[in-house]
């Protein structure tokens, strides 16, 4: 591929970029050739940008069915000599951990980057795990950028480490790095790289039989010791000296930004060791820092990952600074760092009084968008369960927008654990209690991890009603496609894979397809399916309100005819569409800007007084 003059001209230009976009840019500037992902906040924008701009350097990009498959596909491409990358959120790495851990043993071909984004404070996640533990667990090198500029620039080192040592490299960010925007100086885009690598010649490594794995484990440990003293990558780490002192801070990632701001705001002297390579800990610079300081505070988010390593290091060294951090309660274990927590940690190390920390104000809770098919589905399903006398049924939900049904007034989620778990946890409860259980799972989540769970539920004789809420997209992360959509990927046309055929192939006999926006039909379907034994599936189909938003916004809007309205408030209290509101005089009205014209509120099941009509 020949780069255009315009692309060459981008070099040196400064652009306001999101951390994730800067990672994607870094991949394009460093000859990345192959990328796969399953979207997950806060990692999604890397894939979103490569989908748009991958062609700039000839990168092949795909949204895979789940993180494990994305990982294995990218690994296959790497074995074939392509510089490859895969992106996921922290819990996505749990799904991909199986191939990840062993691929570190087998080695790779073209450089391979595994980008994982943690979510301290859980802005949009079900847990706050520290994925750096995976680098330790797998003996994989790990690189952590702090700023959008580093997000881009460190990609180069990640590919180089990966190729020099023949291991995948974990590229770890957190929400505040991935979703931080700042000025980034662009470099030149570089054509996709293919190195020579013959899988056949590697078969003694890539076949992870115990006889091979024993040798590979020993080689891997050797690689990691060598990387710990490798000076080729020393520019990933640096010591910054503010004034003259023998007090220091060791930090990495987003915490580094908090540390520098805290030191400036306090106007104190401080030495800061900023680590970009956090597995293995670079030996020489760390030793130097331990010797040059009397006291060191380790500032990091989530677990005492660096602190434990630094303490062990000091122990082996036999002398050096006294270490403080989470283990001696100088720093909190919970949530992301902020300037207050960092200043307090520094104060505690210096023997000063700590300041009182205010708790952040609670944010408004999210809700289904106006026009969301899930609102209509859950409103109807809740009514059906009540009518059938089944309001006590256990309702297992899953990962996606529909988990918001946990909140009032829907209250139709009792369980939400991980991708696909609605069906498997639900079937476990059904087998254990002998009771019928309902499960709710989205289309993308079903393709990701629901197929195996459904097959297993059928084979276990579970008594379940499974709702597949099919909104034709992966909505929450940014409307990425699902395998059900017809698609053109890298110039190849694909027909959507039929959800119905897959469900039937899982062994399900009672399958009904219903329209989320037809409450009467959905109601009848639910009432009749509740009578079935075994596993029944209802696919509730209704397109996400965010797809073709402009066309939907152009639809006819609805209004409340005040004369007909009894102010029973059913539309507000039970249907709960944000567009429907009550004014200070008590009249119910529909905000024409928020209304997306789905018309569900005008249905007799929502407004028995027929007071909601199309705006004339």
């Amino acid at each position: 591929m020949i780069l255009s003059e315009e692309q060459k001209g981008e070099k040196g230009k400064k652009v306001l970029m999101l951390g994730n976009e800067a990672i994607a840019r870094g991949l394009l500037e460093n000859g990345n050739a192959f990328s796969a992902t399953y979207p997950g906040t806060p990692s999604s924008e890397v894939g979103n940008m490569l989908e748009r701009e991958g062609k700039k350097n000839g990168t092949y990009f795909q949204y895979s069915i789940n993180e494990k498959v994305a990982y294995e596909i990218a690994y296959g491409a790497s074995l074939s000599g392509l510089r490859s990358s895969v992106f996921m959120k922290h819990v996505g790495l749990n799904v991909a951990s199986d191939p990840f851990v062993t691929s570190v043993y087998t080695g790779i071909g073209g450089g391979m980057i595994v980008m994982v984004a943690d979510d301290p404070s859980m802005f949009s996640s079900q847990n706050e795990q520290d994925s750096r533990r995976y680098a330790d667990l797998a003996h994989a090198p790990m690189i952590e950028p702090s700023t959008p500029q580093e997000c881009k620039d460190f990609v180069r080192y990640a590919f180089e480490v990966s190729e020099k040592y023949s291991v995948p490299v974990l590229y770890r960010t957190s929400t505040r790095v991935s979703h931080m925007r700042a000025s980034v100086e662009l470099g030149e885009i570089r054509n996709a790289v293919r190195v020579h690598n013959d899988v056949k010649e590697m078969r003694g490594n890539t076949t992870s039989l115990p006889s091979n794995a024993r040798r590979l484990k020993s080689e891997l440990l050797h690689k990691m010791s060598s990387l710990g003293v490798d000076q080729d990558f020393s520019s990933l780490n640096r010591i910054e000296k503010y004034g003259n002192t023998r007090t220091g801070i060791i930090t990495s990632g987003s915490s580094y930004n908090q540390v520098v701001d805290a030191v400036f705001s306090m106007g104190i002297d401080m030495n800061v060791l900023k680590l970009g390579l956090t597995n293995p800990i670079p030996q020489e610079i760390t030793e130097k820092f331990l010797k040059e300081n009397d006291q060191i505070l380790v500032v990091e988010e989530l677990d005492p990952y660096l602190e434990t390593k630094i303490r062990a290091y000091r122990d082996i060294l036999g002398n050096g600074a006294v270490i403080h951090g989470k283990l001696d309660r100088h720093m909190p274990w919970l949530y992301e760092m902020n300037p207050h927590t960092v200043r307090n940690g520094i104060r505690m190390m210096l023997g000063q009084e700590v300041e009182k920390i205010s708790t952040p104000k609670p944010a408004s809770r999210p809700d289904f968008c106006p026009g969301c098919p899930h609102r209509s589905s859950f409103y109807t399903i809740k009514r059906a369960l009540k009518l059938a006398g089944k309001s006590n049924m256990v309702l297992a939900s899953d990962i996606g927008c529909y988990s918001l049904s946990y909140y009032e007034p829907y209250s139709t989620a009792d369980i939400m654990l991980d991708m696909g778990a609605s069906i498997s946890v639900g079937s476990g409860i059904s087998i254990a209690t002998g009771e019928k259980v309902a499960a709710f799972i989205g289309d993308s989540t079903f393709y990701h991890s629901g197929i195996t769970a459904l097959t297993n539920a059928v084979r276990s004789g579970a008594n379940m009603l499974v709702f597949i809420l099919d909104n034709s997209t992966t909505a929450m992360t940014g409307q990425e496609p699902t395998p059900e959509n017809d698609a053109v990927v890298n110039g190849m046309e694909f027909k959507g894979i039929s959800l119905e055929n897959i469900i039937r192939a899982c062994g399900v006999e009672n399958l009904t397809i219903a329209n989320s926006f037809n409450q009467k039909e959905l109601m009848k379907t639910v009432m009749s399916s509740l009578k079935n034994d075994g596993v029944s599936v209802i696919v509730s189909k209704g397109e996400c309100a965010l797809i073709d938003r402009k066309e939907k916004a152009a639809r006819e809007k609805y209004m409340v005819v005040t004369e007909k309205c009894s102010v029973c408030r059913n539309c507000i209290d039970n249907f709960h569409c944000p567009a429907i509101q009550q004014d200070s005089e008590g009249h119910i009205f529909i905000d024409p800007v928020q209304c997306d014209g789905c018309g569900m509120c005008s249905d007799i099941y929502v407004c028995p007084f027929k007071a909601i009509e199309v705006v004339q």
Binding site: T41, S124, H179, A363, P366, C369
Partner: protein, 185 residues
């Protein structure tokens, strides 16, 4: 020179667009901004907050009493984020004002709160353009934000018909600000 802004609203109001606008304008002024934004779950009608700092700040996170400017795209979000302002902070918030006055100034403990009736300023329902009207008002209230740069940002970020509408709203907000706030040079 340093500075800090919090933009608060709910999903779909253009909070992040406004953060990008402020950051881009600051970049044009060579003021080296950093910006935070929260995506994902909170997009779905929940609170959305974006913080912007400039002048050497490494982290964009703002804490209680840190911000010079709070821009509240929704009245309730402006009120619930008021704690972020420093002792001389300025809030520019969207509200339906009594008597439909275009701008009402409240003084609370040294803080200035400009309540902007965006519907009155637009002359019609302004729900889709609250961010542009408030950005215009901010340009009038903050001399580090030239209105010309805001126009440049809009022209380079949107298609021509949307740009035209946005610039019109930006200018209405700016004029309301210039009329109401004494010239500060």
């Amino acid at each position: 020179m340093t500075g800090s802004y919090r933009i608060a609203g709910v999903g779909g109001q253009g909070v992040i667009t406004m953060g990008k606008a402020i950051s881009t304008i600051l970049m044009m002024e060579k003021l080296d901004p950093v910006m935070s934004e929260i995506h994902g779950l909170s997009q779905r009608g929940g609170s959305v907050v974006s913080d912007v700092k400039f002048g050497g700040a490494r982290s964009p996170i703002l804490m209680e009493g840190d911000a010079e400017f709070l821009i509240g795209l929704k009245t309730s979000e402006a009120i619930s984020n008021m704690y972020i302002l420093n002792s001389e902070g300025i809030c520019i918030g969207n509200r339906i004002n009594p008597g439909r006055e275009e701008v009402v100034l409240d003084l609370v403990d040294g803080k200035k709160i400009y309540w902007i009736d965006c519907d009155s300023i637009a002359g019609h329902d302004a729900s889709g353009s609250v961010n542009m009207i408030l950005l215009g008002f901010l340009c009038a209230a903050d001399n580090r934000m030239p209105i010309e740069s805001a126009v440049d940002f809009i022209s380079s970020s949107f298609g021509s018909s949307v740009s035209e509408k946005n610039i019109k709203m930006l200018k209405k907000g700016y004029e309301a600000g210039k009329k109401f706030i004494p010239d500060q040079n």
